[in-house]
Subunit: 290 residues, 6 copies
Amino acid sequence: MRSDLLAPNAFLNPLIVEDAVRRALTEDLGRAGDITSAATIPEGKNATAKLAARKPGVLAGLACAAEAFAQLDPSIEFRAKKRDGDTLKAGDVAAEIAGNARAILSAERTALNFATHLSGVATLTAAFVAKVKRTTAKIVCTRKTIPGLRALEKYAVRCGGGMNHRFGLDDAILITDNHIAVAGGVGAALKAARASAGHLVKVEIEVENLDELAEVLNAGGADVALLDNMDTATLKRAVEIASGKLALEASGGVNLDTVAAIAETGVDMISVGALTHSAPALDLGLDVDI
Amino acid sequence: MRSDLLAPNAFLNPLIVEDAVRRALTEDLGRAGDITSAATIPEGKNATAKLAARKPGVLAGLACAAEAFAQLDPSIEFRAKKRDGDTLKAGDVAAEIAGNARAILSAERTALNFATHLSGVATLTAAFVAKVKRTTAKIVCTRKTIPGLRALEKYAVRCGGGMNHRFGLDDAILITDNHIAVAGGVGAALKAARASAGHLVKVEIEVENLDELAEVLNAGGADVALLDNMDTATLKRAVEIASGKLALEASGGVNLDTVAAIAETGVDMISVGALTHSAPALDLGLDVDI
Amino acid sequence: MRSDLLAPNAFLNPLIVEDAVRRALTEDLGRAGDITSAATIPEGKNATAKLAARKPGVLAGLACAAEAFAQLDPSIEFRAKKRDGDTLKAGDVAAEIAGNARAILSAERTALNFATHLSGVATLTAAFVAKVKRTTAKIVCTRKTIPGLRALEKYAVRCGGGMNHRFGLDDAILITDNHIAVAGGVGAALKAARASAGHLVKVEIEVENLDELAEVLNAGGADVALLDNMDTATLKRAVEIASGKLALEASGGVNLDTVAAIAETGVDMISVGALTHSAPALDLGLDVDI
Amino acid sequence: MRSDLLAPNAFLNPLIVEDAVRRALTEDLGRAGDITSAATIPEGKNATAKLAARKPGVLAGLACAAEAFAQLDPSIEFRAKKRDGDTLKAGDVAAEIAGNARAILSAERTALNFATHLSGVATLTAAFVAKVKRTTAKIVCTRKTIPGLRALEKYAVRCGGGMNHRFGLDDAILITDNHIAVAGGVGAALKAARASAGHLVKVEIEVENLDELAEVLNAGGADVALLDNMDTATLKRAVEIASGKLALEASGGVNLDTVAAIAETGVDMISVGALTHSAPALDLGLDVDI
Amino acid sequence: MRSDLLAPNAFLNPLIVEDAVRRALTEDLGRAGDITSAATIPEGKNATAKLAARKPGVLAGLACAAEAFAQLDPSIEFRAKKRDGDTLKAGDVAAEIAGNARAILSAERTALNFATHLSGVATLTAAFVAKVKRTTAKIVCTRKTIPGLRALEKYAVRCGGGMNHRFGLDDAILITDNHIAVAGGVGAALKAARASAGHLVKVEIEVENLDELAEVLNAGGADVALLDNMDTATLKRAVEIASGKLALEASGGVNLDTVAAIAETGVDMISVGALTHSAPALDLGLDVDI
Amino acid sequence: MRSDLLAPNAFLNPLIVEDAVRRALTEDLGRAGDITSAATIPEGKNATAKLAARKPGVLAGLACAAEAFAQLDPSIEFRAKKRDGDTLKAGDVAAEIAGNARAILSAERTALNFATHLSGVATLTAAFVAKVKRTTAKIVCTRKTIPGLRALEKYAVRCGGGMNHRFGLDDAILITDNHIAVAGGVGAALKAARASAGHLVKVEIEVENLDELAEVLNAGGADVALLDNMDTATLKRAVEIASGKLALEASGGVNLDTVAAIAETGVDMISVGALTHSAPALDLGLDVDI
């Protein structure tokens, strides 16, 4: 895997790229492989190709695209012209590819499927980030990811200027209303969480209203409060109440029309499930010259 | 895997469900598992839950959701109230779940990530299908799928009333402009394809204009012609020219605004990449009662 | 994987080679590896070897053999002298290998097990193909393959001059007597199949006698009829009845003594399960020179 | 996996059955599964079936067949009427199967591919064993197995009355001419092997002629001598020379015509590569009653 | 996997148990399985067994032991008499097992290898925890774990009363001297870390002396300081300097003789690599009654 | 995998190294990878490092360490200064590493976890071997290994000068008291074992006292007797009784204080479970120079 194709400060286990690409190639090539190219392209034929943007957006997934070509033919050259996180105009070339024509055509769709999906995530994230750029609020992703692509999508969120929430159920505690109800209230839940959590585990707790926020502040032990579905007036009050004693995350009802106003309330983070569960693909194509 | 939860005429290898769900649970549970529930929910506690639609749409992915709960605790009851392919109104309950509270909460996000994504694909497909219902045109998917979910997404397209194009590079021949150029023209490419293809492999060929379509008809050997980015007038002419000698697929520039007019040209299939690469998630939630 | 070692028009997902070879090496090397070579061959010792035919036949599996050596030591040179699909005389050298002696001896049996089995399939196929060369009939394989080697055996059939039937249950429809019985007759079964099948899926249907064939022709919707266990007189009548309206496959009772007469009936395909389920290995050996 | 379906004294890691069957089902069901049954068989339909011998032989692989049905639908009943190792007459029923019709038809080919191949190995083994039954010679298999099926084929050899040679390169030492040449002669090779081998590892050495056999006896340290391609007169002399001081294995030129005479020379083992690399499938079929 | 056999507040992804046990059984059973039991124990024979402590200690790994038996024969009964985290006296019975004798004997070693190793980790942890019980210091593990057993060993540490440090490189930031040097000092490193880290990621930083600790406090942004190899006098000073503004972890030179004094300095955590990299197995045995 | 980094006469399937290292990296890097290095080290920065001994011992695991660096960045140079099996003094450099700084830091812990654990096994083995060097007794390992590391630990035992017992349940027969009881006595058990075992499988049998040893000798068919928990006087008598007719293995109550006396009794092998289940890690570290 070419780590040099990842965004400079990527938070991504690079071994995941190899595995995800192999699985994707396997589901596309099936048993018989690319039978169209085998039937119509001479085996020694070479080609060049350009990975180009058809629409403007933010690039993510270049390492996956390169890996798709490399797994089918390690001698294919993949020259990056852009990096993950770069903004693309329509027509911009992200990479030039040269080598065996059959292998390039066989890997084309897999390479594009990664690049268009991950760039789609990055592009949507960037749109949200742009809306809040005059505030200090961070746009963060959620665990509402496409099954099997958690780490890659969270990487794409960073390419778009967003930040990451939990990567899974195991790296931070997030106490929701169900946990509170069973544990016997906010205080009891926080106490139980703090007692169980290791010293490098943060604790976030969901609150439905300002009374619960006050309860959380009173109980102590929380690093972050998740303000669920509050209107902007309530969010502003929450910021005043918290007064920096814990970080505040706004969640629910967030879209490109509402996010700026939410950010202006002073919350620290705004989480947006749509970044990963509903991002349309960015239109990228491969212009092949045989 | 509960095959009874698949749509009645599902085209899906059921073993894929088990594998996809295990991978998704693994990426969510990581090393330490659901540390919030471990810290706050007593281990023997039971709960019930309802998988419910927050927005209207078409259901897909119930077997995946059930499998997520089953893999964490086989004793969890999962009673389907709807089937894949059913239309849901906001508020409709798709399934009722009962059993160990920790396991239900730990599997919740994985179950929802499958169901919301696949139902999103089915719902978008159904929207396209609805637009063409007065015609004989079929809405078909493409190979532009989310990496790792090819078979499940193609299954979801069927749940939404669509039909499937190739599942991969290996189950049908699709000759595009690059293949034609290298093979030495439409006739040569079709001849090479027919010679190579087994007797149960269909051959489709992309044409850019009506002259090429005529060339294809003249050469013989093609089962389907892919009409790439033609306007509706041209599509109509193509239907007249082909006059049933081969099937016609329209592709390019298809959206919910244009699809009806395209269908009315008389083409047999309309392929829509967006069904799988850009379907927004359907909003489903789990209402847990502990 | 060295794609250049595959037959020029191979229908094979090349990623399958790597995986199959790794599994085979793993089952041969077990936990302790090649303990005989470790005990008796100095670690830096080099050797050369020739992969040679002991008996005449048709070569298949060279890429697998090369991969076995490469996985144990990427610096081993593997120079092909023949290609898959070539006819070998006894004594012909298919490849020369040079490099670390321990690695060559450790990979020897795995390399040979692939090459002798796949060449056995290719050789048996070629024998059938030779018998029908004066006709237009194609020799085709079946799904009666050795578990785990489906794609590789189907590739070997092509190396021997045969063609492929379905690769699996999912890439074409083949309606047999059980399906007909349940569906409510030939017409109903074909209608159901056509309604379900995508536009790139062919439909074949098994017929037991000429009445059923007539019924199939009458119903329409079938691309191929499978003529099950008919004598040559009946096959001839079937060819007349079908008169080119659908392709005809003869099956059952096919062996090297009967195949020519079957081909001369005018059927399009003759399927032979024995190609893959009962092909004796071709005797190839490795002559090592240390 | 149903261990009760293995031969009573099976030497087989039962976990291998599950893995091998899953891989075989996966390669047959592909992405879309059994599309013919999905299109033509109602989902709730039940069926019964009989796994029956079309030709006489020795049964092996019943656990694999049962596992194929169970993996697709755990509620399918699989009632064994015979056990692995049993002799079957044409028409004998080995097992009765009852349950969901789609699942039975979908698993049919995979179940049969295991049972016909492994029974083929067992049947060929039994034929060799029958030829030597008046002697004390054992028929043993080799490492010339179909890639991926090593353990299952060696199990089938036992079902046919044969015995196993090494399972891999790691469980016994077998010194061949190459090892001898590099090590500096028979004595040096045996000494090196004995020094390296653990106390539970046996040492076999290949000899080309009687002088080498004498050398082996003189050197000590070998448990078994492999008599390579010797005529029966020479084999008899070898038996006299060895006079029980080490076990003798005859190898090379063994077939059903020659094996009896070889056995009568008094050698202890006769190894036959064809048992596993060239056994024709035993004709078994599934009679389905829907 | 039987989640009910895990410690009540286990931080462990239960899916890891199944995978780890399958791999361990596979490496023990190899190709031919338990050939001794196959040769000497009748297949239908039943047995009972007791998993008993030969030496006193703390139990961990009961779910793994149960899983080993279950994977070989799901009908084996496994009745827990103790739970993970319980203290065992020599002779205490942790579980009673009943079922097929061959399966019990075949799984015995794998079950014991998990239970003895994990109980060894728990027992050593408990010894450290006992030494500090009069202080508020927590005993925590490190990433110095046996390859492949990270999650299970960290679970065992909790069974012994310890707490967990990072589970991997990805769930918390730990800045060491190398990172500080390259980043351009403590302040720059902390700033870079805080800017990159998500809002649920804690930051720990290693300090070599009190000046560096002051620098960390001054810079802000750290949640924990790792005091590397300081004597107890220095640790005490560190506690005073930090005065609760960040948590303090002592590391280096920790053993059962030194840990109490270190704990008494007032540090919050004491990390001990030996808990996982050097814990001797706890002597547990299986008393089989056939 | 760099086979040149294995001990010269290693008994190890080299493919196991790649798989074990990948799993270990995966569990350390998780989803987001090494977030500390990503945040603080510039992506192009290079570094050099020395793998050095902090305490004296015997080296094992160099190939695993090299593989960890190579999997993260194949361009990292790894120059071995020592070989597995070499004795290290404190301060000795085993290898020098140079390349991308992030990759070196990300692989550091995984590389060390293999090297410290395997060197720990080798070092403990060497200590036992040193105690018996004036005798002919061999120190052998057991199947009491850390789950998942069987082959690597057995390799490390050889690096320390020990020899290997069985690698699994499948490569030799070891009859214990339970087998004897069920089989109907020593003679019956041995007879059953000999009848079942292939000609390359050795048979060992456990005896509790000298009467049983006599019984074994009388029955014949055993290659080795395992003398369980006998005092040295009894062991001496056993050696006299056996008088070279079978090999003798002493087991039970073996530690560094008792092993010399046991060896002096004349037994052939002394098996020590602690070599693999309780070896403390050897303290090795990585001195990084950025």
